[in-house]
């Protein structure tokens, strides 16, 4: 029998536990924001707040990144997440380390039956996707948080109890040096799928578990393959079951094999058994070494509400979906970016408390949509009855001959920046604005994310206003967190060059003009065809849950 080697273990960074001042004090200190859990969503939120100058305490029971060593968990980071990371200042590191891709192919047997090119609809500075082991994302976020120096990062700090108060939350924390109690105006639970806080508070997660079984082999080998997302509905080298093949950083491939439902997880993940599968796929002459082998089944859950008074749930603590389409980690990162600016503005008294309710009103439908989409993929990949097998056979057979059936082949629909429904703060609903490259009137380059990276304010992009309009609008919105910019024209405002791509992407008819309100999370909150100083001020007040007249 062939012997299979494991690569040396990754050396992940470790950060020291520093005893916090509360340990030796009887006074209970109140913090504006306490985040529990230093995974992708908790770290993104802490970094987002730090970038805005908002001090948060981040508690994590571990002192490193990653889970179970090199187990990389999430690997695909979607454009919206990458744009967030650009705003937070870690995108360059991610792009340098990760694998950029936009093309996916799906096979049945040896035949290609579906493909997509996500670059075709992108106008962003960031690519549709970058693959990178999750622990690198967490690592870069921690480095950036430490660099910003605003966040109180507390490692080896386990939350043992939370107690909701009328105006905050009391939190008991256990550390290697003893226990202490703090209070928070707002507690953010980012402790992941098995959130102990959720359990302790008795918040139902409505979990369901799939019987579909998979086994990940993260493996390094010398065989030139395209850096595309390849999936097989029924791979000849995996007994006609599904296979995923995707490249990550450091030349490590994520190969994910669908297993029989009744398989023994210990047996299928033995290096000899996993190695035999790889040998079948790669052929006899390709040398490879394992980085990680892990069997798994997936589950899903979705909380009824993401905000419970002064406690908000983000990331896996709030929602878990099957892995098809990378809608787990990306959704958590985007939860954090949705909540960060809202917490900042509310904490600074520049927005109403109802703005925090909009976190639930926007992100819960997003999670619901992701649950629907991923459940459909999961069902295509693991038919539940003879009839479902028959229909899938029909789809695959037709897809080999006819393009229409290719649209039905579903090995995952990749994560998107979900649209937000019409709501009190979003009379038109909202959709993402990509990180467009832009030019100032004098030719200097900028991007939407650069414009949003300074402070916490909405952007008002106004196509060719007059000087009088611009001056009146500045007066009408002086007390509001709004940065007014002109697009073209001669208004006296800071002015971006008129750009057809920008206009089209924002939904503006360049021949008519108009005004677009972009929130700090780069979502379009309002489009005013006939903007006036009063309607602009009203749109900002609506978006920020401020009363109609000046407070």
């Amino acid at each position: 029998m062939e012997n299979f080697a494991f690569a040396p273990a990754y050396e992940l960074p470790v950060w020291p536990f520093t005893p916090p001042p509360e340990l030796n004090s009887t006074a209970v200190v109140r913090h504006p924001v306490v985040i529990v859990g230093a995974g992708p969503s908790g770290l993104t939120l802490a970094c987002d707040l730090a970038q805005r100058g908002v001090r948060a305490v981040l508690l994590d029971e571990d002192d490193t990144v990653g889970v179970r060593g090199a187990s990389s968990r999430g690997i695909c980071y979607a454009q919206k997440s990458l744009e967030i990371f650009e705003r937070l200042g870690i995108y360059e590191r991610i792009a340098a380390k990760g694998v950029t891709w936009s093309f996916g192919r799906t096979f049945s047997g040896d035949e290609e039956v579906y493909n997509f090119n996500l670059q075709a609809t992108s106008v962003s500075t960031q690519p549709p996707f970058i693959n990178l082991q999750q622990f690198y994302i967490e690592w870069f976020l921690v480095d950036r948080i430490l660099e910003l120096g605003v966040t109180d990062l507390r490692w080896k700090s386990r939350v043992t109890h939370v107690e909701p108060l009328a105006d905050g939350v009391r939190i008991d924390v256990e550390t290697p040096a003893g226990s202490y109690t703090i209070e928070a105006d707002h507690l953010i639970d980012a402790t992941g799928a098995n959130s102990p806080i959720r359990t302790q508070l008795g918040v139902a997660s409505h979990a369901s578990r799939s019987t579909d079984r998979w086994c990940i082999s993260d493996v390094r080998f010398e065989k030139p393959l395209p850096t595309e997302r390849w999936t097989w509905v029924d791979a000849p080298f995996n007994e006609g079951r599904g296979v995923w093949q995707h490249l990550m950083a450091d030349g490590v491939w994520r190969i994910d094999y669908q297993m029989p439902e009744d398989c023994d997880p210990a047996e299928i993940s033995r290096p000899e058994v996993a190695g035999a599968r790889l040998r079948e796929q790669l052929g006899p002459d390709v040398a490879f070494e394992f980085v990680w082998i892990g069997p798994y089944g997936y589950r899903d859950h979705l909380l009824e509400r993401f905000r419970h008074g002064r406690v908000c749930f983000i990331g896996d603590a709030a929602h878990v979906v099957s892995p098809f389409g990378a809608r787990g980690g990306n959704t958590g990162i985007q939860d954090a970016a949705n909540l960060g600016w809202k917490l900042a503005l509310v904490a600074q008294g520049q927005a109403g408390d109802a703005l925090l309710d909009s976190y639930d009103a926007e992100r819960r439908p997003a999670a619901q949509e992701n649950l629907t989409v991923t459940s459909r993929s999961a069902r295509f990949l693991a038919p539940r009855s003879p009839a479902e097998h028959t229909l899938r056979r029909a789809v695959v057979a037709l897809a080999k001959r006819h393009t229409f059936a290719r649209a039905l082949v579903n090995t995952g629909r990749m994560s998107v920046a979900n649209d937000y429904p019409v709501a009190p703060l979003l009379p038109e609903g909202a959709r993402t604005v990509q990180n467009l490259p832009l030019h100032w009137a004098d030719g200097r380059q900028t991007t939407l994310m650069q414009l949003l990276a300074e402070g916490t304010q909405c952007l008002g992009l106004w196509f060719a206003p007059t000087r009088a309009q611009a001056q009146a609008a500045c007066d009408a919105t002086a007390a509001l967190p709004l940065r007014l910019l002109a697009v073209g024209g001669d208004s006296g405002l800071p002015t971006l060059q008129a750009d057809e791509t920008l206009a089209r992407h924002l939904g503006i008819d360049p021949s008519v003009g108009g005004f677009v309100l972009v929130r700090p999370d780069a979502y379009r909150a309002a489009l005013l065809a006939q903007a006036t100083p009063d309607t602009i001020a009203a749109a900002v007040r609506t978006a920020l849950a401020l009363p109609a007249s000046s407070p």
């Binding site: 009839a387 028959t390 229909l391 056979r393 029909a394 789809v395 057979a397 037709l398 006819h402 229409f404 059936a405 039905l408």
Partner: protein, 72 residues
């Protein structure tokens, strides 16, 4: 969903459908029907009509199962 007759030669269509199933096992016939459904669905190309057709097909089966009298 249109339920008025629209097939120009109903008997000819039905005969062709039967001919396509001739000599096939039950499983092969099920495969053929599934492919046919998908091809026809793409001709229709109207989501509301497709969903109405799925409902109508499911209802017709329920009617059959409740009205069938067992043969003694």
């Amino acid at each position: 969903m249109i339920t008025e007759p629209r097939i120009p030669d109903p008997d000819g269509f039905y005969a062709a459908l039967l001919a396509a199933h001739e000599g096939r096992t039950e499983a092969q016939s099920a495969d053929l029907n599934a492919r046919l459904v998908l091809l026809l669905a793409n001709q229709c190309a109207d989501q509301a009509v497709l969903l109405a057709c799925i409902d109508a097909a499911a209802e017709a089966e329920e009617d059959t199962s409740t009205t069938t009298t067992p043969i003694p």
